[in-house]
């Protein structure tokens, strides 16, 4: 009799556990002395990258992939675990617009999180075995350095190339310079404009560098993320109002799942949609170019806030902004990974919530069957 009760209890437990495996992330080693919740200038970020490579040999490699107008080497961090299998990849860049300081802060935080958790968080570890993460902490290095020069240069946006502009104004909006309907909409041909799209398509060496690196790896790259501020938006391709991505529905549902993950952290609302719908039409963006060459998931993140502080987001908001953005990005790269590697565990973030009522019904049936079988055995 007690034997059968035990059997019932076992079945109850097995049935009742359902399929929601909870993930608990153990804390990794304490971060080094680097303060991720302060803004850092270009030389501090470069030093941080070198330190990271030294301290994480075999996991982190610095890869230079082009030069800025001022001949700085644009570098990314390649993060991944050794594998004998063919790997896929994720691309993330920050700081394509100089004044959006929270974006490079996020790239640095993101890398720290990955490195602190891959040994203990099974999912992150699995993803690093199957994918390489290519993270560029500051793409527009010249512009970023200029925005640190003094208080009056803080709101610089563009590159620092003179272009064909003569003496009047300088700089090109890097995010209008890519080969994606270049010049079609949302740009200005006036050199002094903040959305001047360059003398010609890919006139900017920074945009060319991204193009060269990503193009060669486009069949590997599952997901292209470009991080900006401000506005609290997740933008899907395309920037042109008359063109819709073939997988628009998928992009929207992945974006909405990310926005939900973000909201779950600190309650912040991020609006998801195509740029022409929720913000403005534009062309020549890196996000659009990535989608056009076939990278299926391509998103622009616009981080905090909604305009009260704008580009000059206080340092005490770096931590919560990074935490929520990390949840959003993690949601997207997990989706990309699981889709590519055909993983359908229930812990895969889904656009629709799990059917808990159905799980409960299944449990009840299993228990009743157990009762029936055990009582039949007793007869």
């Amino acid at each position: 009799m007690s034997q059968s009760i035990r059997e019932i209890l076992v079945l109850l437990v097995l049935g009742g556990l359902g399929s929601q495996a909870s993930q608990r992330v153990a804390e990794g080693p304490e971060p080094r002395n680097y303060d991720y919740f302060k803004y850092h200038n270009m030389s501090e970020i470069s030093g941080w990258m070198e330190q990271l490579e030294k301290e994480n040999q075999g996991v982190v490699t610095i890869e230079p992939y082009g030069q800025t107008y001022e001949k700085q080497n644009i570098k990314l961090l390649k993060i991944g675990l050794e594998s004998t299998e063919k790997k896929k990849a994720i691309w993330m860049d920050c700081g394509i617009h100089a004044r959006e300081w929270i974006a490079p802060a996020f790239c640095q935080y993101f890398v720290k999180q990955i490195l602190d958790t891959y040994k203990t968080d099974e999912k992150i570890g699995q993803m690093l075995k199957n994918m390489d993460l290519y993270v560029t902490p500051v793409l527009n290095m010249d512009g970023y350095a200029h925005s640190w020069f003094n208080q009056s240069t803080r709101l610089w946006r563009k590159s620092r190339s003179p272009g064909n502009c003569g003496d009047s104004c300088m700089g090109t909006d890097l995010n209008r310079n890519f080969d994606a309907n270049w010049g079609a909409v949302g740009i200005s041909r006036n050199c002094c404009s903040e959305v001047y799209n360059g003398a010609t398509v890919l006139s900017e060496s920074e945009a060319q560098a991204v193009t060269d690196f990503v193009k060669v790896r486009s069949s590997e790259i599952l997901c292209f993320l470009t991080i900006h501020s401000y506005g609290q938006l997740i933008l899907v391709p395309f920037g042109h109002p008359n063109i819709t991505a073939p997988n628009y529905d998928e992009l929207m549902s992945v974006g909405l799942a990310a926005a939900k993950a973000i909201k779950d952290v600190h309650g912040m609302d991020y609006t998801v949609g195509s740029s022409p719908n929720v913000l403005y039409p534009n062309s020549g963006s890196s996000r659009d170019w990535a989608r056009l060459i076939g990278i299926p998931l391509s998103f622009t993140f616009e981080l905090r806030d909604k305009g009260q502080l704008g580009f000059e987001l206080p340092e005490d908001q770096i931590k919560p902004t990074c935490e929520e953005a990390y949840a959003g990005v993690r949601s997207i790269i997990t989706y990309a990974h699981d889709k590519a590697f055909h993983i359908t565990t229930p812990s895969t973030p889904m656009p629709t919530p799990p059917n808990t009522a159905a799980t409960l019904i299944a449990t009840i049936w299993t228990v009743l069957l157990a009762v029936c079988l055990t009582s039949a055995h007793l007869l």
Partner: protein, 278 residues
């Protein structure tokens, strides 16, 4: 004897499991050719994508309603903004657009608002925003009666600040608020809020359906002599227009008292300072 019954149970369990199985992600890519190169798909835009639905109904989180709602926010700050009051749009709940031909475009909005200094939920308000027709180049006209404003009581703080600034020997001044790191000295916060209220007058006046203004920074503030019982300040504010991405410099002559509210006496647009290569 119970065997057939058990077989029935087993069948029912299996049936139940089938019906109850959780939603599984599609492993087939929705896009059959994930790596097509450089093809641009041109589609007829379904109504939800072009910002309008039937009968002038607008998608609340799309840009036309959002831009109009921001204008309502600027209007409210011209009426109610102060060193201790800053009203922010929280959400657009409903929106519709009426095309009045030459008379312009009128937006009808249901918006929820927040006072961000005291973190007070101001509830829902209705707003009407009229953007004038092309001939007319006038400032938008806004109506936004908002009962939630009555929740706010900032009289004590405003009086205290007014007294302090009115009787002080040294006129207050400051610059770069917030600074490059987003930092604002606590004693400058009320003057930053006041700058935002004053900037709202310009942002309201300069807004149209192709702009979305926020104040990026108070570049400088200098207190002038009190006149007619009003504190007076010279402000240099930087406005950010999200659509053009431009930073616009405006010099403002501002007066304020708790009883009189905020007034902007003079405004002067400053062209972009000449760029110098460091």
């Amino acid at each position: 004897m119970r065997r057939p019954l058990c077989a029935l149970w087993v069948f029912l369990v299996l049936l139940g499991d089938c019906l109850a199985s959780p939603y599984r992600p599609e492993t087939e890519p929705l896009d059959p050719e994930p790596h097509e190169t450089n093809s641009i798909v041109e589609l007829e835009l379904p109504p939800e994508l072009d910002g309008t639905m039937s009968d002038g109904e607008l998608v609340p989180h799309h840009y036309p309603a959002q831009r109009a709602a921001k204008v309502a926010q600027h209007y409210l700050n011209t009426r109610h903004g102060s060193p201790f009051r800053w009203i922010e749009l929280h959400r657009v709940n409903k929106a519709s657009l009426e095309d009045l031909g030459q008379a312009g475009k009128k937006y009808y909005l249901e918006i929820s608002l927040k006072e961000v200094i005291s973190n007070t939920d101001l509830g829902q308000c209705s707003a009407e925003v009229l953007f004038s027709g092309e001939q007319d180049q006038r400032a938008p006209q806004v109506q936004c009666p908002c009962e939630g404003m009555q929740k706010l009581n900032t009289t004590a703080e405003e009086e205290a600040l007014f007294q302090r600034l009115n009787s002080s020997d040294s006129p207050v001044s400051g610059s770069n608020i917030p600074d490059s790191y987003g930092h604002i000295a606590p004693e400058m916060k009320p003057l930053w809020h006041l700058g935002a209220a004053a900037a709202s007058f310009v942002m309201l006046r300069e807004s149209n359906e192709s702009t979305l203004y926020n104040m990026a920074q108070v570049a400088s503030i200098t207190q002038l002599e009190t006149e007619n019982g009003q504190l007076r300040f010279k402000y240099h504010v930087l406005l950010h227009d999200m659509i053009s991405q431009e930073i616009l410099h405006w010099k403002l002559l501002v007066s304020w008292s708790p009883a009189g509210g905020v007034s902007v006496l003079q405004t002067e647009w400053q062209p972009k300072p000449a760029e110098s290569t460091p």
